[in-house]
Amino acid sequence: MSTKSIDLTLEIWRQKDSKSKGDFEKYSLENISTGMSFLEMLDVLNENLTGRGLDPVAFDHDCREGICGMCGAVINGIAHGPEPETTLCQLHMRHFNDGDILVIEPFRSRAFPIHKDLITDRSALDRIIQAGGYVSVNTGGTPDGNAIPIPSATAESAMDAAACIGCGACVASCPNGAAMLFTGAKISQLSLLPQGQPERKERAMAMVTTMDKEGFGNCTNERECEAVCPKRVSIANIARMNREFVKAALLG
């Protein structure tokens, strides 16, 4: 694929720290190679800003290969940008055109305070995991990986749920600021497998309760989460969480 160069106008949310108010700042960028990733484009901007003695735009990133879940921003109203099943770091500039105006905003939700610029505090998701996203394992020698038989279809469903990288795009895009896709995926992944059975009921109760306590909204089945999820985690996992929760609440 041949690479071109494009010029862009960026409108980026700048916020000094969690207490400041923040506002949009406009930047022009010229000669951006369409072979660059979105984050590399931001790197170029930051180099320019640093060279001019200005504060670079803070944004989260780590692996830059779409597997760690650190990166993320809302580009023109869509979390992780316009390409489906793509994290921001894997989004390439060839999907944009010369002269585009890109409005870049941090992932937002009541449960996601903003640290700085595009960096959002997503630790509320960690606290949901802490509440029940674990299995208990007896100490001793390493168990044989294939000692517990698991049907292939079950393993596949668990793996699909486990594809969640916890980036928080589901929360950011949800009109209700709900974290049900994330929590549903984590609960599903463990409740499907034999290793997750001992804590199955406490897990469903604890994780759902923590989700509410953290200030996330309620799911009204808008499907926005599934549409922006870089790993296409299905809302079938939310349905499974609902079943797990009702079972745990009714049968104790």
Binding site: V103, A111, C174, G217, T220, N221, R223, V228
Partner: protein
Amino acid sequence: MACSGFLLILFLCSHAAGNATLFSSVALFQAYADMLHSHPLIVSMFSKGLLLVFIIHIVTGALLFLQNRRARSQGYKVQRRAVKNSQASATMIYSGLTILLFVLLHTYVVSFGNHKTIGETIVNLFSSFFVSIFYIVSFIGLAIHLSHGFWSMLQTFGINHPRYNSFIQRLSYLMPIFFLLIFGSIPLLFLFGTGQ
């Protein structure tokens, strides 16, 4: 929300079946109404139960709307949806309020209005063009509400399985259209003078 929605759908089914007698004749409809009212205990139990279900549905719906608006206290400068066909789900509270307005007016007329027989009331009511149009517009609101509500209810109950999803999807189109046709054709019937 989903439980009360389910009960409301059951009510719609029975109400649609009852009203369908009008397709035969006003006399049959009158006989159906008289038969119902010859069991005052049943009528009173069902109407009070229905009122309760409606109140539960409206209160939980309003709470949900307000809680979620607060959870999304921080919006975006560019508001866009990645999902296509999200109009019905994004406007549940408004389609719901349209139904509420309709239900209030409708109950006022048919249950508390002064009239001789219910059959006559219906004939009088739908002789007015504007009343008929208002009814039809409300039924369209109901169909929109259900086009999200029915599927949403099943998803909330945890009913989501690759084997049934395509069937559920078809049903989510057909069911609102079914109710729209049954309820909507009654005012049309009288408007065009074919009801008797």
